[in-house]
């Protein structure tokens, strides 16, 4: 499965959550390879393990078994610090609830991603906001933006560092149809024009159809690829 073009790969990923009640297997031996420049959607019902898969692919959590290979680096036995550095360098996240920092303006939210990498390039933040059509609203705080605009700022923040992979967790989950279309168009444009690699999880068939490849999940396993 793995070849020179593969940028992100899940190998036998298993994640078991140990609670007071009983252990719960959120993922059961998932194998998934994403090639550079590919747009993959992962679809399934609620509770099928989509978000868990995304968090593992994004190195936000560690698997119980299996490993994630990111840009050729097996992340199975690396330290938390190295995992963080890899995430900062290679991964961009877009969340269903936008997760913008309320105290910062749109511009500062986007620039924050650069500052975490010790890159103080305010112009790039402005350029990215312009790319998502929000140049005129860069001074506004999230509370002063519509939900669609907030998600576009979140996309700008995720992509300003030029990550190898964009991981999107239900990016249209909190948007109306018009805003959803706009956001999906934006994501699609970055994929088409900039060759951005995207993994998008959703429970919505119409959203999933926007991708080049559809991966279905059920009960913690890949049910169709």
């Amino acid at each position: 499965m793995a070849d020179m073009e593969t940028i992100l790969e899940a190998r036998g990923l298993t994640k078991v959550y140990r609670t007071d009640a009983a252990p719960t297997a959120a993922l059961r031996g998932v194998d998934l390879a994403v090639r550079r420049g590919e747009f993959v959607s992962v679809m399934g019902p609620s509770g099928c393990g989509k978000s868990t898969l995304l968090y593992l692919l994004g190195l936000l959590a560690t698997p119980t078994e299996g490993t994630v290979v990111l840009d050729g680096t097996d992340t199975g036995a690396i330290s938390d610090g190295r995992r963080t550095r890899l995430r900062r360098r290679h991964i961009g996240f877009v969340f269903q609830r936008f997760n913008l920092l309320a105290a910062l303006s749109a511009e500062d939210n986007v620039a924050l991603a650069l500052r975490l990498r010790h890159e103080a390039v305010q112009t790039r933040a402005c350029e990215m906001l312009a790319a998502v059509g929000l140049d005129d609203k860069r001074r506004r705080r999230p509370g002063e933006l519509s939900v669609g605009e907030q998600q576009r700022v979140a996309i700008a923040r995720a992509l300003v560092t030029r990550p190898d992979v964009l991981l999107a967790d239900e990016p249209t989950g909190n948007l109306d149809s018009e805003a959803s279309e706009r956001v999906l168009d934006l994501i699609g444009r970055f994929h088409r024009d900039a060759g951005q690699t995207i993994v998008l999880i959703t429970h919505n068939e119409k959203v999933a159809e926007r991708a080049e490849r559809l991966v279905r999940m059920r009960d913690g396993r890949i049910a169709g690829n």
Binding site: Y55, G58, L60, A61, D80, G81, T84, R85, R87, R88, R89, I91, F93, F95, N99, L101, A102, A103, L104, D108, L112, A113, R115, L116, R117, R157
Partner: protein, 361 residues
């Protein structure tokens, strides 16, 4: 990254203001108390700011209770000791002026030069005899009293004949016989004596000779400690206030930062998703606490200045001197309390699981 702590502080104006004020109150409490304790130092400095080297006191409390030492006899005995250039009797008696009890210094008018340099008199003249007094400039301002004014005390009227520059011995001087009459003494007595040595290096043999006569000798260097020993709990009070001030800073910062970390659990998860390291998250939390502390220190300095002005306005005879180095101590106390208070919440934030944080409602 510097913008985020600042932005967070301004996003929660009320909470930030309360936290800043709490730190400021802690700082001001420490500084004002230190300033108030300077009163003791001021009294000691004033008492020893005369042209002498020793103070001679009765060794026995009984003598004190009987009104003091026989002034003429003891003065003669002291002057007869080799090495003693001069012995000056002082009869001290309480007198209420400007709302506070002052220690009147009853002296022989011819001994005024021991307490005054050539330019000490600001208005009027030195003592001569009778029902007259000389007060210092600070008491004159506090009264207010003016030259020529009469003061009714002890059933008599006393005229202010001179106003002298403050800072030497007492704030009120009267002829020793006038004070002795007011005390209805049968024999002229003295509360203590100032002794001037022919050679300052002769302190030890002169001291021994005086003590052999059954008297107590205190050098000017020892006087402050003697005074402070009568306020045995002062160090304890100061230590208690320092502890309280530091604890207030610690507690307020702990509560503020802990609340902030819990409120921003999801935000911390987002930062980690964006690639913030543990050290970066830790630094952000500590930076926000540090900004509150810095603002609190400034507020504390301003509160101190205002409190000092208010105290001196209400009690002009009090002394509230705060050496500059104490401001540095106060800042260090606030910074230490802040660092300790923010440490646990900052570490908690740094160790938060990013997935759990992102899912936090």
């Amino acid at each position: 990254m510097a913008c985020l702590p600042l932005a967070n502080i301004f996003a929660r104006k009320t909470r930030t203001t309360i936290s800043v004020l709490a730190v400021g109150v802690g700082v001001a409490l420490f500084l004002v108390l230190i300033g108030l304790t300077s009163m003791l130092r001021e009294i000691a400095n004033r008492t020893t700011n005369v042209s002498a080297h020793l103070m001679v006191w009765p060794a026995s409390d009984q003598v004190v209770l009987s009104g003091g030492l026989p002034a003429d006899k003891v003065q003669g005995d002291l002057k007869a000791i080799p090495g003693v250039a001069r012995a000056v009797a002082v009869l001290r008696w309480p007198l209420k002026m400007a709302g506070r009890v002052q220690n009147v210094y009853g002296i022989r008018p011819q001994d005024w030069d021991l307490f005054a340099g050539p330019d000490r008199m600001v208005e009027g003249r030195a003592l001569e005899s009778g029902d007259e007094m000389v007060i210092d400039t600070r008491l004159a301002r506090a009264g207010p009293y003016r030259l020529g004014q009469t003061v009714q005390r002890w059933g008599r009227s006393y005229t202010i004949v001179g106003i002298a520059r403050e800072g030497v011995a007492g704030r009120v001087f009267m002829p020793i016989r006038t004070v002795s009459q007011a005390m209805s003494q049968d024999v002229l007595r003295a509360s203590f004596f100032y002794v001037r040595l022919a050679r300052p290096e002769d302190v030890r043999p002169v001291r021994e000779a005086i003590e052999a006569r059954g008297l107590r000798v205190i050098t000017f260097d020892e006087y402050y400690d003697v005074l402070a020993s009568s306020f045995v709990d002062m160090d304890l009070v100061i230590a208690a206030v320092v502890f309280v001030a530091g604890f207030v800073c610690f507690l307020v910062i702990l509560l503020t930062v802990y609340t902030m970390v819990v409120e921003r659990t999801r935000e911390i998860g987002v930062l980690k998703a964006m690639g913030a390291s543990r050290a970066q998250v830790f630094s952000l939390v500590m930076a926000e606490a540090g900004l509150i502390c810095a603002a609190g220190i400034v507020a504390g300095f301003l509160l101190t200045w205002a409190s000092r002005a208010l105290i001196l306005d209400l009690q002009p005879l009090w002394t509230v001197d705060i050496p500059a180095v104490r401001f540095a101590y106060a800042a260090a106390l606030a910074a230490g309390g802040t660092a300790l208070g923010a440490l646990h919440p900052a570490r908690r934030a740094a160790r938060q699981d990013p997935v759990e944080s992102l899912r936090y409602e």
